[in-house]
């Protein structure tokens, strides 16, 4: 938090996927509202955790940030510039500044490339470090920073020879080698053993301190959030329903969905266990978004007005926003 300038600002971003073709009877094709109006901003060096159940649009949001999907509506500003409709050349330049860690380290590494090829490829593509010795040095640096020490042992190996945790470290190294400003980590630990998860999260926390990274940490597990996120955003059905500083959100959740999520986190101490609030019903189909507040069919405290009006974001505390009608009154 050196400068309090927004490094990333997302304004009402939307991504709708078309399902099938338009009907011959003149009806529009059905649409999946994967991301449906998301707003947030980030400061340099911030870590934002994006939490939500599967299918809520977290991954689509990260794809939008990376430019891997084209948004239907809305804008994304990065370092003050609108990058929503970036051209291919601009995108390439951006990919030096924004990098991504994918969810599944078993799938996201090309099996025919050695670790050195994988990690040095971004440098080659962006024509950085043309000198082979310098390139090797940067690759070794990235690998060692990612916790693969000594890096020389790994350079000539192939992905199938590594464990899941090591593979994820390679993925992180190949993202770090470009020295990005913003790192989008899409559920980086969900495919790993529980024992390795903490290591990878600690690694990300270290890297963030060492390299002053801004991190968007996408997860479906509120339990891991407290470890290193500065702020938490809770997503439900394509929208953020609550956003705020981690401690505020975890200790004093405002939105009924956040409360429900928090109440089902396993607590080791039985005396501290509160009554669990199990949400009724399934997540609604993102093709047919409920009217009014999109959470009302499952909300334990919903009132009649929730069926009609869509709640706006309001600041309930300093830097703690939530979208719920009950908070207005």
């Amino acid at each position: 938090m050196i400068t309090q300038k927004h490094i990333l600002e997302v304004k009402n971003i939307k991504k709708h996927f078309q399902v099938g073709r338009p009907s011959i009877f003149g009806q529009d094709a059905r649409r999946v509202h994967a991301v449906d109006g998301v707003n947030f901003h980030m400061y340099r060096g911030d870590v934002l955790a994006l939490v939500g159940e599967s299918g809520c649009g977290k991954t689509t949001l990260s794809m939008l940030l990376m430019g891997l999907e084209e948004s239907t509506d809305g804008q994304i500003f990065f370092e003050g510039n609108d990058i929503t409709r970036a051209t291919r050349a601009e995108r390439k330049r951006l990919s030096q500044r924004i990098q991504m860690v994918f969810q599944d380290p078993y799938e996201s590494l090309n099996p025919t490339q050695s670790i050195e090829e994988i990690v040095s490829e971004p440098l080659v593509i962006h024509k950085l470090a043309k000198d082979p010795i310098e390139r090797r040095l940067r690759v070794v640096n990235a690998l060692e920073d990612s916790g693969l020490k000594p890096a020389a042992d790994y350079l000539k190996r192939y992905p199938h020879e590594l464990s899941g945790g090591q593979r994820q470290r390679v993925v992180i190294a190949s993202a770090l080698v470009l020295e990005p400003v913003l790192l989008v980590a899409d559920e980086p630990v969900s495919m790993l053993d529980v024992s390795i998860r903490a290591e990878i999260i600690n690694l990300l926390a270290d890297l963030r301190r060492k390299r002053e990274l801004t991190v968007i940490f996408i997860t479906h597990d509120l339990g891991t959030v407290g470890y290193f996120a500065d702020r938490v955003a809770v997503m439900y059905l394509g929208r953020i329903v609550e956003i705020g500083n981690t401690l505020d959100v975890l200790k004093n959740p405002k939105h009924p969905y956040t409360k429900a999520l928090l109440s089902v986190i396993p607590v080791p101490n039985p005396r501290l266990r509160k009554k669990r609030e199990i949400l009724q019903g399934e997540t609604p189909n993102p093709i047919n978004i409920p009217t009014g507040c999109r959470f009302h069919p499952r909300c334990p405290v919903a009132i009649e007005a929730c069926k009609i009006s869509d709640p706006a974001f309001i600041e309930v505390e300093r830097a703690h926003d939530a979208a719920c009608l009950l908070l207005v009154k």
């Binding site: 991504m100 590494l109 099996p111 025919t112 971004p122 593509i125």
Partner: protein
């Protein structure tokens, strides 16, 4: 590195074992079949018993097949009292080691001489056809995968399926019919009397003769390679590492070149090696339609004449070339896919 060397040696040794097995099988296969050199060459009923015996001695089939093998063939059975070095099996083996394939029952010429030229002709046809089929199939498959689920893709898919399912001989006849209208030669390898012309004109003549059979061969195998390339590439393109590459800023071309093709080509290698085995049977039909003087034609003729030494030699050559091609494919595969070596 030593690990890799050990893998190569192990695979070569296994290939040699397979060849040995084929040799033994090949020997007994033609001893079980009915037929006799005296009947194959001379179809004259006035042939005396002595003359028949003389012919059988000349071809060595008077000897027992193998010692201690009474029931295999009642005419040529041996017994355990027979000297094992004086059996057909031993003579066959020791001759083969010296590169001797025996004499044709029908033409009396050495089998090796007869087949050498034929093999070369077949190799010419197959390699020309396979190269065209692979190159074109890969390009069309790549294009279809690139334009996946568009009209172009569906058209390519339909065409590929159609080409692949056509019977070889049928396509051959159609092409003959069509090609003869354009003055293309309808059979054989060279125009008679061409040998007095300069070499480049002879080659041109062979090329003209090669055109139609190669076209037939290419069309059929191209369909297969195209379909496999397309589906394999579509598989790879949906992998996460393609998305990762995109996120790293690689262009579509770079992704295709460095990530997609390298992985998509792997299943194609296997198909190619397996195809070589089927190729020979396919090529028999093609060679008979186009009267191409290749191995397939030789097999066809020899079968009609019950000319077993020629068949035996041809089978041996085919088996060895298939085993060899598989060995090469296997080794190339382990070079292309690092996951294969470490077992």
């Amino acid at each position: 590195m030593t690990n890799r060397l050990r893998t190569i040696i192990r695979k070569v040794v296994w290939a040699l074992f397979t060849v040995l097995f084929v040799l033994v099988l090949n020997f007994f296969l033609f001893r079980i079949l009915p037929g006799d050199p005296a009947r194959a060459g001379i179809k004259d009923p006035r042939l005396t018993q002595e003359a028949i015996e003389a012919i059988r001695v000349r071809f060595g089939v008077d000897k027992p097949v193998i010692n201690c093998f009474e029931s295999l063939n009642p005419i040529k059975a041996g017994s355990c009292t027979v000297n094992p070095f004086d059996t057909q099996f031993f003579v066959y083996m020791s001759n083969l080691v010296q590169g001797e394939f025996g004499f044709s029952f029908y033409t009396n010429r050495p089998v090796a001489d007869m087949l050498r030229e034929r093999l070369w002709n077949t190799v010419l046809l197959i390699s020309a056809g396979q190269i065209f089929a692979i190159v074109l199939g890969c390009i069309f498959g790549l294009f279809a995968a690139w334009k996946a689920r568009t009209t172009i893709d569906y058209a390519a898919l339909l065409l590929g399926l159609f080409a692949w399912s056509m019977p070889t001989f049928w396509l051959g006849i159609i092409l003959l019919y069509w090609g003869s209208g354009y003055g293309l030669p309808i059979g054989g390898k060279a125009t008679p009397g061409m040998s007095s012309y300069p070499a480049w004109q002879q080659w041109l003549d062979i090329g003209r003769h090669l055109l139609l059979p190669t076209l037939a061969y290419t069309v059929i195998y191209m369909g297969e390679y195209m379909l496999i390339m397309r589906s394999s590439l579509l598989d790879v393109l949906s992998e996460d590492y393609i998305l990762t590459a995109k996120a790293k800023g690689l262009s579509t071309f770079q992704i295709m070149k460095d990530h997609a093709l390298k992985n998509a080509i792997l299943p194609l290698m296997t198909i190619f090696a397996i195809n070589l085995a089927y190729t020979v049977s396919g090529v028999i039909a093609l060679e008979s339609v186009f009267s191409w003087p290749g191995l397939g034609g030789a097999i066809y003729d020899a079968l009609n004449r019950r000319d077993y030494p020629v068949l035996q030699g041809a089978f041996f050559m085919i088996a060895v070339s298939v085993i060899f091609a598989n060995l090469i494919a296997d080794l190339t595969y382990s070079y292309l896919d690092p996951r294969v070596q470490s077992e």
